[in-house]
Amino acid sequence: MKLAVQVNEGPYQHQATDSAYHFTKAALEKGHEVFRVFFYHDGVLNGTRLTTPPQDDRNIVNRWVELAEKYDLDLVLCVAAAQRRGLVDEGEAQRNGKDATNIAPRFRISGLGQLVEAAIQAERLIVFGD
């Protein structure tokens, strides 16, 4: 089945992002297609490479990156939500005059249209949030 995943919560604060990861991983391992994972609201905080959790805790950001590398997964941060919360890639840094970037590899920043498109293209949209 072709699936799309929406993540509405930030990492560590809320288990929704863990559930989204485990669901996505399990679906891919079962041979399903995940068209896109779209991060919205505080969910965009899943995409900062500056995250440094304690060593004995899971690294939520790296986990997404590894999953994306293995399955060529499309990880998209909402641009409006990312701008509000300080998630920056090269393009955003140039456009908005920022002196740094913090986006993790394999993530990209794009518009809400990517969420709507994913909902149209996929057979199921699965939303993880509060």
Binding site: N8, L112, V116, V127
Partner: protein
């Protein structure tokens, strides 16, 4: 993309206090460009999003109530409100804003697309939807 799906945006949060309501509205506005069959459902504290006369001037929050009134122009055909959620909060449909809708091609007009529905209808409308965005 020619296929049209039944979209439902499910709004369960108060308009202020968290950003969910406003960022949900942003998806509805952007999503209009995709010409899908769109309805909104307001439940739980989400019903407060449609209460008339809100004033956010003292809290320094942007008041986005006027945006809801324009949703008919953004392809939203129905704005359902869960009756039980209204009653539990001492509200009636008289407390809610009205939102007009017009089909510019057929000139069909509806004065108010805000519609209270009971629990059975809520369940049925959700079951009929192909995509439910939950906020």
């Amino acid at each position: 993309m020619s296929d049209i799906k039944k979209f439902m945006y499910l709004n369960r949060r108060a308009p202020y206090g968290t950003i969910y309501a406003w960022e949900s509205l942003e998806v509805v506005l952007i999503g209009a460009a995709f010409d899908q069959e769109v309805s909104l459902m307001f439940m739980d504290d989400g019903v407060f999003q449609l209460v008339k006369g809100s004033d956010t001037s003292a809290s320094d929050m942007k008041n986005f109530l006027p945006t809801y009134r324009t949703l008919g122009d953004y392809g939203v055909r129905h704005m359902y409100v869960d009756k039980a959620s209204l009653e539990a909060r001492g509200l009636t449909s008289d407390d809610l804003i009205e939102v007009a809708w017009e089909d510019f091609e057929t000139e069909e007009e509806v004065d108010n697309i805000v519609e209270p529905v009971d629990a059975d209808q809520v369940a049925q409308l959700m079951a009929e939807s192909e995509v439910v965005f939950s906020f």
